[in-house]
Amino acid sequence: MNTKQIFSSLLFLLSILVLIPWFIATSGRWDLYYTLTSVALLAIASAGVWLTFYIGRINIGQGAFALLGGYITAILITKAHFSFWIALPLSGIGAALISVLIGLPILRLRGVYFAMITLVLTEVGRLSALALPITNGAKGISNIPLPGKVSLFGIPIIPDFATLENPRIGFYFLAVCLMILCFAVVFRLVHSRLGHLCRSMQQNEELTASIGVNIAYIRIIIYALCSFMGGIGGSIFAVMSQSIYPSSFQVADSINFMLNCFLGGLGYVFGPMLGTVVLYFGWDLLFQTGKYQMLIYSSLLILCMLILPNGLLSLRLPGRKNS
């Protein structure tokens, strides 16, 4: 990283960890915490989708893994009385494992075929949640308790969320820290040799195989990582809203994860984060337009993609490439 990158990262950290909480405290707009937490969670799931784009796959199935992560957490906490802090990583791992099983056959497909299968996957996720006994059908799972406290050697590290004056602050910091971690991992991955291999695969899988790369293995690793992020996003979401339903993550959400990546820019690690923020708040801002909301929103999206096919981040000054 060069000094400029370090400087902007510090500025970014400062604003989301200090400035935003300070602004909320002084303005009293506590509701913003919920919104911003949601954005952070959606950005985490979108980062995963972005990674699958990076190996040349259009993934419209992230909703299924977010839903899966949410249900794993809900079931582990309410039925097996796990601590949320154990259920969270387990949800990610569970989603990743399932994605390996699903990915083995479907990752051979490319282009629109892969996209369609993953789209169907989202619907399969919703229908399974409706049908399986353990997920409690359409009624879903509610009354999920808030995260408990964590202490190491008797020293409390994370307080019991229920004792917080406003548990939303807790969720905000949790989601935002995980988001930072996820994007740091993606950034590091993209700038490592593994990232170069992914880019080679995106540009030509056959040629990549011809230079001795086990492309099937890398595809699976990336897809598992993607689903892991979907899983933990869904997990926190379930606990934050203290409930999960088959409709919590649907086809529309899967499509949004993908759009976030497109809008922000497929060539930029931080594209999905920006895309999520813009799409989420863009939709809200258009709320006042009433029945025209969808029309204006879709038109703007189409316009964006026509004018800026490489995403919003391509607007930056020329001379600075892929970061």
């Binding site: 490592s192 593994l194 170069h196 080679s200 540009q203 030509n204 011809s210 230079i211 086990n214």
Partner: protein, 263 residues
């Protein structure tokens, strides 16, 4: 005689009803330049894809240094030392020339995926050796001045050279070149012929498919001729030029026929 490095044994490939390769057998000696020629659709590319395991055989087998390699995954065959280039100019089109060649060093890497991610000592060392080796290869192929050019901006001749550079980065024992001189003028072709000889002099056994007969006759130690999926002749350039069956196979294809006699 040294034992063959590559043995093709009764290789057959059927696409549905079409037999693209029919019972083809031949041996390749280490350090040899062997050309595979034949009219369009004769099954040359198919043969190369079978040898590099990009296609599964219908029957027959390929032995590399005595060991069966057919029907393994392509990346495993590449790791063993059989590397192919592509007939179409297949490159990483949005990478620079140097980046492409560095990436292509993958087989030689000591670090594993986690090592890449955490920048282990091995990964760091890899990066340095790959960079140096890539510069060597680019120098050797005359691509050094274009090292930082985005690959898709290269002119045709250099694209072919880049394809070979990517192949060489894999440190192959056998390099399969599918039409390396396609789209080149006479001078470029002759330069390329010298380059391919240079590759052989580095200890690489070279198999190539080519339509440019003048180049083929000049460069090859031996030639295998395919027609309609069958091997119809095998021998030195002089033997092939006199072979009745070969001349017949090329009849009516004037430009190639002329090529057959121009050297």
């Amino acid at each position: 005689m040294t034992p063959p490095i590559l043995q093709v044994r009764n290789l057959t490939k059927k696409f549905g009803g079409l037999t693209a390769n029919n019972d083809i057998s031949f041996d390749v000696a280490p350090g040899e330049i062997l050309s595979v020629i034949g009219p369009n659709g004769a099954g040359k590319s198919t043969l190369f894809k079978l040898i590099s395991s990009f296609l599964r055989t219908t029957s027959g087998e390929v032995l590399f240094a005595g060991e069966r390699v057919s029907n393994l995954a392509p990346h495993i065959v590449a790791r063993k030392g059989i590397v192919r280039t592509f007939q179409e100019t297949t490159i990483f089109k949005n990478m620079t020339v140097r980046e492409s060649v560095i990436v292509a060093h993958h087989i030689r890497s000591k670090a594993n995926l986690l090592g890449y991610f955490f920048r282990s000592a091995n990964a760091h060392q890899d990066e340095q050796t790959f960079g140096r080796s890539a510069d060597d290869i680019l120098d050797f192929l005359g691509l050094a001045p274009l090292a930082n050019e985005i690959a898709c901006n290269l002119p045709q001749g250099h694209l072919r050279a880049l394809g070979i550079a990517i192949g060489l980065a894999c440190d192959p024992k056998v390099l399969l070149l599918d039409e390396p001189f396609a789209g080149m003028n006479h001078d470029e072709t002759m330069q390329m012929v010298e380059l391919v000889r240079g590759v052989r002099d580095r200890g690489v056994t070279v198999l190539l498919v080519e339509h440019d007969m003048a180049a083929v006759m000049r460069i090859s130690d031996r030639i295998v001729v395919l027609n309609f999926g069958e091997k119809i002749a095998e021998g030195t350039p002089a033997e092939i030029q006199d072979n009745e069956q070969v001349i017949e196979a090329y009849l009516g294809r004037e430009e190639d026929l002329v090529g057959l006699y121009t050297c």
